[in-house]
Symmetry: C2
Subunit: 210 residues, 2 copies
Amino acid sequence: MSIDTSQSAVVSDEVLDLVFREARTVNTFSDEDVSDEQVREVWELVRWGPTAFNSLPMRMLLVRSTEARERLASHMSGSNAAKTLRAPLSIVLAADLDFHEHLPRLAPHLAALRDQLADAPDSRTATSRDNTFLQAGYLVVGLRAAGLHVGPMTGFDAPGVDADLFAGSPWRSIMVLNVGAAPADHEGFSTPATRDRQARLDFEDVARVV
Amino acid sequence: MSIDTSQSAVVSDEVLDLVFREARTVNTFSDEDVSDEQVREVWELVRWGPTAFNSLPMRMLLVRSTEARERLASHMSGSNAAKTLRAPLSIVLAADLDFHEHLPRLAPHLAALRDQLADAPDSRTATSRDNTFLQAGYLVVGLRAAGLHVGPMTGFDAPGVDADLFAGSPWRSIMVLNVGAAPADHEGFSTPATRDRQARLDFEDVARVV
């Protein structure tokens, strides 16, 4: 007997197209603003995604002011600087190395874990980074489900961003997301605007059965 | 002017509940099978999620046979062993350290990248691990959107799994997902069955604006 996936009937092709199939990395946006409230609503959705012992280490720096935007852009590689200056909103995703301080609230059933992690900085760094990337996956999906377009970038000087924007903080940058609405003439293309959609791997390339 | 999110009207509350708000880590499943075909369909959806230079480093080992299941369970920590033995399907998510071999096909516009990465094993390891966690986020969403329930676990002896199941392979385990249908009496609880849903962080805990 195979699983009754009747529940999945609620997920229409239109939704799957919006979030995955037709979604594209967008690097040119319209002038429309993205409000803090919109990002808050997305966070209040994607925070339910599972993380290791409910650690939730991902943090978000919403870069809005011209001064902060220019500081961020100064650390971006190549064309990522111009993309960042043009975006309605850039979000620096960071791994909080002190995520363990929240564990008494987030994982009260693991009473000893906060103190164990306090003495294990290497383990904390790895857990924070791994689970921040995991949460970044949920966040990309959540932003798209909210009708926003995203341009994720890892091409930047992360230690430079950390020294500049996170001095004295346990936040460590791992990704920058440009967020906005696509321009009216957007046809789903990444930059350069004429690049065709890139290939993906097939199931046979990525899966084995034992 | 704020963004027209009319597109998001296609994403119903029912979908957001299924994928995020009401979804729970499930560790006890019904006896129903999960077919390779179901996993293939989910892969063909989530493979469209963005990764750094379209690297797509995530690999999946579908663990079905009793012998393979017992070998995997022998490396799982504590109660994760029993959870793995009971699940209809366990998927070992792995980071492919040789993902760069696919780049001529996946990122033909970055002609030099494969050879650059061939000489940079540390960079390759980090990129593979980071982006596999990112893709794991897409996969959890995709499995839930297909009506499946998941129980993600990072509590296992990863070097032990790699030596046992990935000997001679560039795949490195980063997470194990138990996958199936929830039992009929499932009320959304994680194990132990009576544990209430754990708290999540608020927007003010995780976000700053500059």
